[in-house]
C-alpha cells in the first residue's frame, strides 16, 4: 500500500529538513542532564554493593561509617518499606525486586546500603566502613544449571528457578512438518549486551517538609518512575514529581527503578536535603540490567519449492536475579521469531530462568535481535541446502499488507516486497567478491508500541494537551520522554503540521510529571505512533475550536472547507482568501471571554491484536571482510532498506537507523559479557568493546514509501527494529565468505578460526 498522492501533497512540515528542537541546547553545552543537576545544600550518595552472587544479609553495622566526618546518613533495606516491586504490576509474583534487599542478595553488585555525605569522596570512603555480615549461599549462573533439582533456590518458592514461561502457537505444527520436504534443526546461543548509555544512571532527589518528593532522573518514562516510586515509598503519585528533561540515552535500560533513584529518594526523605547519586561506569555495567542472553533451539520445515510449512522454537533465557522487563522480552522474542514471514504453523515455548547474575531485561529490539540472529541465519542455510535463491525464498513467504498473523496481529502496511527488490539490486551490483569477503542480509520487522498493559495503568497510553497562546505560539504538553531519539521534535512536527503553523511556534513540554499528562514513555517504539496520535488529536481539537471562529468571522458558505497552513487560515479551494493565524487566535480569545484555546488528545490501542497497532519492515545488508587466519571481521559496506510508513523527521530517521546499525553490529561481533562465578569480567570501556567511528561502514538508506493507517500521518516505528537484523546479516556474510555457520553471538575471532579449522578437518575426512 502506498501513500495516496492527495495525502502526500498536504504535508508541509512532515519529512522536511528541520533541526531537532533541542539541538542548540545540545551543541552549545547548555542541555542539563540529571547528571549535571546541582541543588542548594545537596549531598552526595554512594551505594555499597554485594560482593557475593548469592548471600543472606545477617547484619549490617554502619556505626563506623556514620562516625566519619561529613557522613550524614546510612540506609539499608531496613529503612525501606521492603516493597517487592517490578514493572509487571498486574502480576504480583513477577514483582520480585527490592532495590535495597532486606534479607538476601542475588547478584554481585546488588545494592546493600547507601551513604549520604557532604562530598562524593567522603561517601565513597564511608562505604569501606560499613560492616556487612553475610551468610554466603551457593550461586548458580547458567539457566540449564539453575533448572536442576539440586540447584540453589534463588527466590523463595520458585521451583527450579523458573521465573516465567511463554507459549505462542497457531496452525497445526505437527501436520506442517509432515508436509515439509526438508526439516532442519539448530541450536544457537545469543549473548547479553550492555545498554551502555553515555549518561550512567543518575538521580537527584529532594524531599521537602510539605511532603513533596522531586526527582531529577535519567529515565525513559517519567510516569513509570513516578508510579513505581510512589508504590515503594507508600506515597501518593501526585506527591512524587519526576523530571527527565534531557536523558543521556536509554535503549530499553532506563524504564525500571534503579539504585540511583531509589537510594537518592530514601536518603533525601531521611535527611530532608537533596541527595545526588551517580553511577560510575563500572556500577552501570554490573548493577543495572542487560539484554537477555538466550539459548535458542529452532526446527524448521520447508517444501522443496521454498514454501514455509512449519516452525517450532524453544528458548531458555538467562533471566538473572530478577524479572525486570524479561517477561516481555521472552514473549516478544517468540513472536518476532516468526517475522516477517507467513508461517501457517508456528509454535514457540519460552522459559526464563533465574540465575545469580545481573538481571536481564529489555534492550533495543526487545528480544527480537536474538530471534533474528537464529531465524535469519537458519533460513540462509536452508536456502543453500535446497539450492534456493535466499531472497526469492523469503519473498515468497513474506508478510504483505492485509495479512493477518493468525490470531495475533493484523498487518495494515508492509514494504517488505520492495525491500527485497532493493536488496537484490544492491547485491547484484556488488558482483563477484574477492576471497574472504561476503555479503549477508537479514530481514526483520518490529512493532510500533505494545498493546499490553502489564503496568496496569488506568490512564490512556498516551495523552497530549495543546494550548494556544495569545501571540500564536503553542504550548504542547506531552508525557513522552525525550531520550535522544528526537520524540520532542517528532511531536513538534506533528503539532505544526496539524495546526498549520511552523515548528518554531511549538514549545514542547515533556518528561515532567507535574506538568505533563501521563504517558507510558519511550519503549517498544511506541511514542511516534501513540504519542504522535495523541498529539495529532489534541491539535485537531484545538484547530477545530479555532476554525469555528474563522467560519463565523469570514461568513462563509457552509460547504467551504477551511484549513491552516504556514500560519495562514484560508479557504481550501481559494487559498488566497483568509487571515493570518495570529489574528484568528486573537478573535478566538475575544470570542471565548479570554479563555485560551486548549486541545486535548488521547491514544490507547483498541482492537489491534495482541501485540502492536502497526509493524515496520526492513532488510539489512552488510558486506564483510574476514581475515581467515585471525578471525578478525571488518564491516566494509551496508545497505538498509526500510519501511517505517511516512517518515516524520528526515534527519531523525537517518540518525535512528544509523545508530541502530552500530548497536546491532556491535551485538553481532563485539559486545561480549563474560561472567565468571557470577562476576562480570569486563565492566569498563577498556574491555567492553563496541563500534567506534573507525569500525563503522557507510550506511546508505533506502526508505520505502508506505502509509500506515493507524499511525499519525501514516507513520510507524523507526530505529528500534533495525537493531534486529544486523547480527544475522553479519553471520550470513561470514557464511557466504567462508562457508562456516556461526551459531553464537557475538561472533568472536577465535570462533571463526575454530570453525574454519573444523571445516578443513571435515573436508579432509570427507576425502
Amino acid at each position: 500500500m502506498t501513500t495516496t498522492s492527495l495525502a502526500k501533497e498536504k504535508l508541509h512540515v512532515i519529512n522536511t529538513h528541520v533541526h531537532n528542537i533541542d539541538g542548540i541546547a545540545k551543541v552549545t553545552g547548555r542541555a542539563t542532564y540529571s547528571f549535571d543537576v546541582k541543588l542548594p545544600g545537596m549531598l552526595y550518595g554512594k551505594i555499597l554493593r554485594s560482593p557475593h552472587p548469592h548471600a543472606k544479609i545477617i547484619n549490617i553495622d554502619a556505626s563506623k561509617a556514620l562516625a566519619l566526618h561529613g557522613v550524614k546518613a546510612v540506609v539499608t533495606g531496613k529503612d525501606t518499606l521492603g516493597v517487592k516491586q517490578g514493572i509487571w504490576r498486574r502480576y504480583s509474583e513477577l514483582c520480585d525486586e527490592q532495590i535495597l534487599p532486606v534479607e538476601k542478595v542475588r547478584y554481585i553488585g546488588e545494592p546493600v546500603a547507601a551513604v549520604a555525605a557532604i562530598t562524593e569522596e567522603i561517601a565513597e570512603a564511608a562505604l569501606d566502613l560499613i560492616e556487612v555480615e553475610y551468610e554466603v549461599l551457593e550461586g548458580v549462573y547458567e539457566p540449564y544449571e539453575a533448572m536442576k533439582k539440586e540447584a540453589p533456590e534463588i527466590h523463595e518458592g520458585v521451583e527450579r528457578n523458573i521465573n516465567v514461561t511463554r507459549h505462542i502457537e497457531w496452525g497445526d505444527v505437527e501436520t506442517g512438518f509432515e508436509q515439509a520436504d526438508y526439516i532442519r534443526e539448530d541450536h544457537f546461543f545469543c549473548g547479553g549486551q550492555a545498554h551502555m548509555c553515555m549518561e550512567t544512571r543518575s538521580a537527584v532527589a529532594s524531599y521537602t517538609p510539605e511532603g513533596k518528593l522531586t526527582i531529577y532522573h535519567s529515565n525513559q518514562s517519567a510516569y513509570y518512575m513516578q508510579a513505581l516510586m510512589a508504590g515503594v515509598l507508600g506515597m501518593k503519585e501526585g506527591n512524587v514529581r519526576v523530571i527527565a528533561q534531557y536523558v543521556g540515552g536509554g535503549f530499553g535500560g532506563k524504564f525500571e527503578l534503579d539504585g540511583a533513584i531509589f537510594t537518592s529518594c530514601i536518603l533525601s526523605m531521611k535527611l530532608h536535603r537533596p541527595v545526588k547519586v551517580i553511577y560510575t561506569r563500572e556500577e552501570d555495567f554490573i548493577a543495572t540490567k542487560r539484554r537477555t542472553p538466550m539459548h535458542y533451539w529452532v526446527r524448521t520445515g520447508i517444501k522443496k519449492d521454498g514454501t514455509f510449512c512449519a516452525r517450532e522454537a524453544r528458548v531458555v533465557s538467562n533471566g538473572g536475579a530478577y524479572t525486570g522487563m524479561g517477561a516481555t522480552a521472552l514473549y516478544l522474542t517468540g513472536f518476532f521469531h516468526s517475522f516477517p514471514y507467513r508461517w501457517e504453523n508456528y509454535r514457540y515455548d519460552g522459559y526464563r530462568v533465574y540465575t545469580n547474575t545481573l538481571p536481564s531485561t529489555s534492550m533495543r529490539g526487545f528480544g527480537a535481535p536474538q530471534a533474528m540472529f537464529c531465524s535469519e541465519q537458519q533460513l540462509e542455510w536452508i536456502a543453500a541446502d535446497l539450492g534456493l535463491d535466499p531472497i526469492e525464498m523469503r519473498r515468497k513467504n513474506g508478510h504483505y499488507a492485509g495479512y493477518e498473523v493468525p490470531g495475533q496481529a493484523f498487518i495494515a502496511s508492509c514494504g517488505l516486497d520492495e525491500a527485497f527488490t532493493v536488496m537484490k539490486e544492491w547485491i547484484a551490483k556488488k558482483g563477484k567478491l574477492p576471497a574472504n569477503r561476503g555479503i549477508g542480509f537479514s530481514a526483520a520487522g518490529f512493532m510500533s508500541g505494545g498493546i499490553f498493559n502489564w503496568f496496569d495503568t488506568p490512564y490512556s497510553f498516551s495523552s497530549a494537551v495543546v494550548t494556544i497562546n495569545q501571540d500564536a505560539t503553542v504550548e504542547l504538553h506531552i508525557g513522552a520522554t525525550e531520550i535522544g531519539q528526537g520524540s520532542n521534535t517528532t511531536m513538534a512536527i506533528i503539532a505544526a503540521e496539524t495546526l498549520g503553523v511552523k515548528v518554531e511556534d511549538i514549545k514542547v513540554h515533556s518528561g515532567d510529571t507535574d506538568h505533563c499528562p501521563a504517558d507510558l514513555g519511550a519503549w517498544g517504539s511506541r511514542q511516534t505512533l501513540m504519542t504522535g496520535n495523541a498529539t495529532k488529536r489534541a491539535c485537531e481539537d484545538a484547530k477545530a475550536q479555532l476554525l469555528e471562529f474563522a467560519y463565523a468571522k469570514m461568513g462563509l458558505n457552509i460547504v467551504y472547507d477551511l484549513d491552516i497552513k504556514d500560519r495562514w487560515v484560508h479557504i481550501v479551494a481559494r487559498p488566497e482568501r483568509g487571515m493570518p493565524f495570529d489574528e484568528l487566535v486573537t478573535i478566538a480569545l475575544r470570542g471565548k471571554d479570554g479563555q485560551r484555546i486548549i486541545g486535548r488528545g488521547f491514544y490507547t490501542p483498541h482492537r489491534k491484536g495482541m501485540i502492536s497497532p502497526a509493524y515496520s519492515y526492513m532488510l539489512q545488508g552488510v558486506e564483510v571482510d574476514i581475515d581467515p587466519e585471525t578471525g578478525k571481521i571488518e564491516l566494509l559496506d551496508s545497505l538498509t532498506a526500510h519501511d517505517c510508513g511516512q517518515p516524520i523527521n528526515h534527519l531523525g530517521l537517518i540518525g535512528q537507523l544509523e545508530g541502530a546499525f552500530s548497536m546491532a553490529a556491535g551485538y553481532g561481533y563485539l559486545e561480549y559479557m563474560p561472567y565468571e562465578d557470577g562476576k562480570l569480567m569486563n565492566p569498563n570501556l577498556v574491555d567492553y568493546k563496541m563500534i567506534r567511528a573507525t569500525e563503522m561502514p557507510e550506511t546508505p538508506i533506502h526508505d520505502i514509501d508506505t502509509y500506515e493507517p493507524e499511525g499519525p500521518y501514516g507513520a510507524k516505528e523507526a530505529g528500534e527494529g533495525l537493531t534486529n537484523p544486523t547480527a544475522a546479516a553479519i553471520g550470513n556474510a561470514i557464511f557466504h565468505a567462508l562457508g562456516v555457520q556461526m551459531k553464537e553471538c557475538p561472533i568472536r575471532p577465535h570462533m571463526i578460526v575454530d570453525a574454519l579449522k573444523e571445516k578443513a578437518e571435515k573436508e579432509k575426512a570427507g576425502k
Binding site: E121, E124, A125, E629, T630, K632, L670, Y672, P674, M681, N682, V686, D687, K689, R692, T694, E695, P749, H750, V753
Partner: protein, 291 residues
C-alpha cells in the same frame, strides 16, 4: 578515589631528580598521565608526592644524526613522533606504530617516556623500539645510566630503574643498510590495546638472504618477549612461506601469554604465529627493496 598527594612541579631535570631523591619511595612521576591517573583513581597507586614533569621542555625533542642515531626526549608526545617528518623518513615504523597507539586525545597529551616507564605489557612502543635495538637513558641525582631497552623490563609494570631514577631519553642506533622493521598488533578496534603485537626487524644482503633479525612480541608475556628461536630460523635464509611459517611457530613457542577474556593463551599463540609470519614477510619485502 585518588589518594591525596603533594604536587611538585620541577622547572628542570636537575630539580626533578632532586625532588625524586628527596621523596624516594613516597613519590611518583607523572608526565602525560594517561595511564597513571587511571590506576591512581582505582586506588592501585597511592603516592604522597607527585612530581609533574609534563612541562619539562628540555626533554621534548627528536634528534637524529647519522653517527649516533635517533634520540627522543622523554616528554615528547606520541603526536610529535607520529607527525615527525624525520621519523617518517628514517624510522617509518615508529610513526606507523604511533598512529594506532591510542585515541587522538591520548596521543596528543601522552608521552613516550611515560609510556616506556609505565611498563604495560600491552604497550606498543617497547616491542618496536626493542626490535630497533633501542637503549633507554635514565637519570637520578647520582647521574645517568643507559639500559638496553630489551633488558629494561623486569616484570609486569616493573623496570630496572631504581626509585630515584626517571626516564630521560630513548636512543635508537641508525638503521643498518637494507634493514626494515614492521609492527602490527591484533585488536578488535583500530586504536585499541593489542591482544598481542609483533615487531620484526629484518636485514638482508644483496642476494636477499636475511642476515639479521629481531622478533619482539608484545603482550605475550609479562614483559616484551624476544623470540630468539624465531630469529634463528629467519637468519641465513630467504624468507619463503615455509621459513615464515616455521618462524611463526617458533615465536608462538617462545611466547608466554596469559588467558583472559580477550583471548585464550592458545588463541594468543595462534595470533603470534600469524602476525610473526606476516610481519617478517613485510619487513623482508621492504628490506629487499631498499638500496
Amino acid at each position: 578515589m585518588i589518594h591525596d598527594f603533594t604536587y611538585l612541579k620541577p622547572g628542570t631535570v636537575k630539580e626533578a631528580v632532586a625532588m625524586l631523591s628527596d621523596h624516594v619511595d613516597e613519590c611518583k612521576i607523572i608526565c602525560g598521565g594517561q595511564s597513571l591517573l587511571i590506576v591512581m583513581r582505582q586506588g592501585l597507586i597511592a603516592t604522597d608526592y607527585l612530581i609533574d614533569i609534563k612541562g619539562l621542555k628540555e626533554l621534548d625533542y627528536i634528534k637524529y644524526d647519522d653517527k649516533e642515531g635517533l634520540k627522543i626526549g622523554a616528554t615528547t608526545t606520541h603526536k610529535s613522533i607520529e607527525k615527525s617528518a624525520l621519523l617518517k623518513e628514517k624510522y617509518p615504523v615508529l610513526p606507523i606504530m604511533e598512529e594506532r597507539l591510542a585515541s587522538l586525545q591520548t596521543r596528543n597529551w601522552g608521552t613516550i617516556g611515560g609510556n616506556l616507564a609505565h611498563a604495560d605489557a600491552a604497550g606498543d612502543p617497547a616491542p618496536v623500539l626493542i626490535a630497533l635495538d633501542a637503549k633507554i637513558k635514565v637519570g637520578s641525582k647520582a647521574g645517568e645510566r643507559v639500559f638496553e631497552l630489551g633488558e629494561f623490563y623486569t616484570d609486569l609494570f616493573e623496570t630496572a630503574m631504581n626509585h630515584e631514577e626517571m626516564v630521560l631519553e630513548v636512543q635508537v642506533p641508525p638503521m643498518a643498510p637494507k634493514t626494515a622493521c614492521a609492527y602490527k598488533k591484533f585488536n578488535l578496534l583500530q586504536n585499541d590495546m593489542g591482544v598481542v603485537g609483533v615487531a620484526v626487524k629484518i636485514t638482508v644482503d644483496a642476494s636477499g638472504t636475511c642476515t639479521d633479525a629481531r622478533v619482539i612480541l608484545g603482550n605475550a608475556g609479562v614483559t616484551p618477549v624476544r623470540a630468539k628461536s624465531a630469529e634463528q630460523i629467519l637468519v641465513g635464509k630467504k624468507l619463503d612461506e615455509a621459513v615464515l611459517v616455521k618462524a611463526g611457530e617458533a615465536a608462538a613457542d617462545d611466547a608466554d601469554p596469559v588467558s583472559d577474556i580477550h583471548a585464550s593463551e592458545e588463541f594468543r599463540r595462534h595470533l603470534i604465529k600469524v602476525l610473526t609470519k606476516r610481519m617478517a614477510r613485510q619487513a623482508w619485502e621492504q628490506a629487499v627493496k631498499l638500496g
